[in-house]
Amino acid sequence: MWLRKVPLLLLLLLSGCGQQSAPVRVFAADSFPEHLSDWNLLRSDGRQLRLGSDVIPYDLNTPLFTDYALKLRAVYLPAGKPVTYREGQALDFPVGTVISKTFYYAVQDSSRVLKDAAAVSVDARRSLSLSDYRLLETRLLIRYDTGWRALPYVWNDAQTDASLEIAGALSQLEMADLDGSLQVFNYIIPDANQCAGCHAPNHSDKELSPIGPRVDQLNKFYNYDDGVDNQLSHWLKLGKLDRVPADLSLLPRRADWSDAAVSLERRARAYLDANCAHCHNPKGAADTSGLHLNIDARMDRNFGICKPPVAAGRGSGDRPYDIFPGRPDSSILLFRMQHSDPAIAMPELGRSLNHAEGAALIEEWIANMSGSC
């Protein structure tokens, strides 16, 4: 009698591995789990990565460059506590929010990562096929009543789970370019302190916060499993966003740095903000340099225009100014983007490779600037 119940039970258990996932768990700040799977934000069986059913994937207009890694961003919002709209900084997320960012590459021959793969959204089943992609790390930002915490999780070889590595990690990868050329580089997973290196845009109070999910960055379309929608409208419809101005068409929108239809200046400033302004803002860790590259900064000397270096060391590259209008080859900003030596490279964290396309944008922008020094 008892035995006859077994198949049913087994089925029930197996179905637990199917579409419906367990609800997200938010752990106390003193008991972070070793395994990413425990959060129920993402699940993987080694073949498919699936988003938890109660997280919302999202994208940014102009993201941070991270060694050509692709990124799957998703946010879990606690029930009944919407995000509060605000401009000029990240949205005000409620306590209990968990933001995850999974870094992955398209792969070739299972070991080689591809440089020129287009970022993919999760498909209609909210999943990612791991025969085509390799997961490297998932970073979490969790909102507690005492503030945000940042955690780095590193994916295992089997791609079945990621484990907490607060000291970060380093992985040597081989990257293939479109033309077949290969390049070996150090993919570096930041340690928990280095998370704060970017995610504490105010270096005096050192409060952690998200950087990407601002109104102007989220104001774009996303291909959801139930159709394409503007991300802010989508959140609004879900009841997840509060105090939004009535006319959505008037909300600020950040340029997509790669959109050739947009003016060079808007693209360049979007790029510099996303890649530099977490430190280079008037309250940031790099205010010591007096160089402010935030999107709302005035384009004056402190924006680098005709500004000589202060403590750039070899980063100055024998160039006179951060930005020399009309002369990219005399601009320190571009020099530092075009080098990967840690003594020279900017940004200091998050890249071992040069972002040729980003540098090309900045080069073209400076070349087309009027004025001189």
Binding site: S37, G168, L170, P308, A311, S316
Partner: protein, 417 residues
């Protein structure tokens, strides 16, 4: 039998559950190939609590990524600057060796070697004590060396003592944009700048040895920064034979410092230089200059509220000897030969001659409160008159004879005075 079946069923269920949650993770491929020491140290720094003392045991510890500390109230202590060595020779990441973003921080008795960028940077914080730390690039002076050895910036109440800084391609000891600082009894050697105090308000620099640098001790002010500096006392130091060829990266402010500079005051105000032993610095034992002499030829005016002139400078009771015999740079070489002959020497003090037109009296001299005062025996000042294309180069001592009210000593509240 039944029990056996039940047990195996439970096992089966457990393994299915495990399959769901993916608990069977094996060792991650991306775990660092690092030495365990590095990971352990960084973990201790990340998880540190206020009051912790993190010890660095004696030994040579290779580290390949930047270390950082974000928690206030932590002490890092080694077993000696020649015993506990953090070597960053194979560093692949990090603009610093150790980056500290915290207050109430003490570090002592260890060495940080061969970082790609800066060795020890402390960015914003109060009550910082750095003692018996050695920062060194072990391959000697080279342009590829990191910029700064010991680098507190935007800090206040800082004691930096008994340290050794060798081989920095910018400054061995560099205190930037700080408030209330004592730099004493350190040794700086084979750096471009031995000790540099920049945009700092209130610094006492004494008892140090600066030798074999390009420039021994620099007191600078740079434009476009959140804080402009003033009020530094540089005294009782030994600043000799700073004649190492300038190996700073071209384009950096220090790359304009001529080899053979003893003490350099640039664009800073209220600076007292006294009771130092300053000798055998081949360009000049003491240089007083404006921002206009640092090699930036921007046609754009310097920032509006920036003061590019050195003013209210007081030089007295120093022991000058030797020096000025082989100045660096063609202009100075020619000047020396023209004025003092092949075997002659430039005077002890070199001044570029730029003055703020707004601060002159009716005779065209700096008003007394802004004056460069030299009360130093027979020491003479060469005014290079660079502002006027060196039309009227003069050498004089008497003209600079004046005094200023002396600055009070720096008191560090964190050290009970």
């Amino acid at each position: 039998m039944k029990n056996y079946q039940k047990a195996s069923l439970v096992l089966l269920m457990l393994s299915l559950l495990a399959g769901c949650s993916g608990k069977n993770s094996d060792s991650a491929s991306t775990t660092p190939p690092d030495d365990g020491f590095q990971k352990e140290l960084q973990t201790r720094l990340i998880t540190a609590k206020s009051g912790d003392i993190i010890t660095i045991p004696a030994g040579f510890h290779p580290i390949n990524r930047g270390l950082s500390l974000n928690v206030s109230g932590v002490t890092i202590k080694g077993e000696g600057m020649d015993k506990s060595v953090l070597s960053f020779k194979g560093q692949v990441q990090g603009a610093e060796g150790l980056l500290v973003n915290a207050s109430d921080f003490s570090i002592s008795d260890l060495a940080i070697e061969d970082t790609r960028g800066d060795a020890l940077k402390i960015n914003e914080g109060s009550n910082i004590v750095i003692q018996r730390v050695r920062t060194e690039w072990t391959g000697g002076p080279k342009e590829e060396n990191g910029a700064y050895g010991i680098y507190p910036v935007q800090t206040q109440n800082v004691l930096l003592e008994d340290c050794v800084a060798i081989g920095a391609s910018d400054a061995g000891i560099y205190v930037g944009q700080s408030l209330n600082v004592i730099v004493r009894n350190n040794r700086a050697e084979f750096n471009v700048a031995g000790i540099e105090i920049e945009n700092t308000i209130g610094a006492d620099v004494y008892g140090n040895i600066a030798t074999n640098n390009t420039g021994g001790i620099l007191v600078f002010n740079m434009p476009d920064l959140p804080q402009e500096g003033h009020s530094a006392r540089v005294f009782d130091n030994k600043v000799f034979a700073n004649n190492t060829e300038n190996f700073g990266a071209a384009g950096t402010p220090v790359s304009s410092v001529p080899a053979g500079s003893g003490i350099v005051i640039n664009a800073n105000d209220r600076v007292e230089i006294f009771a130092n032993d300053i000798k055998d610095n081949n360009t000049a034992n003491l240089i007083i200059s404006s921002y206009y002499s640092t090699g930036f030829d921007s046609s754009i005016e310097v920032a509006e509220n920036y003061d590019p002139y050195p003013e209210t400078i007081f030089v007295y009771d120093n022991n000058f000897s030797g020096g000025g015999s082989a100045p660096d740079g063609l202009d100075l070489k020619a000047l020396k030969v023209a004025m003092f002959g092949i075997g002659g020497s430039l005077p002890d003090i070199l001044w570029d001659g730029y003055v703020n037109p707004a601060n002159l009296d009716k005779d065209g001299l700096l008003r007394p409160e802004f004056a460069i005062c030299v009360d130093n025996g027979s020491a003479q000042v060469l005014n290079a008159d660079l502002a006027n294309g060196s039309d009227n180069i003069t050498v004089d001592g008497a003209q600079f004879h004046c005094t200023h009210k002396k600055l009070p000593p720096i008191v560090l509240p964190n050290l009970g005075g």
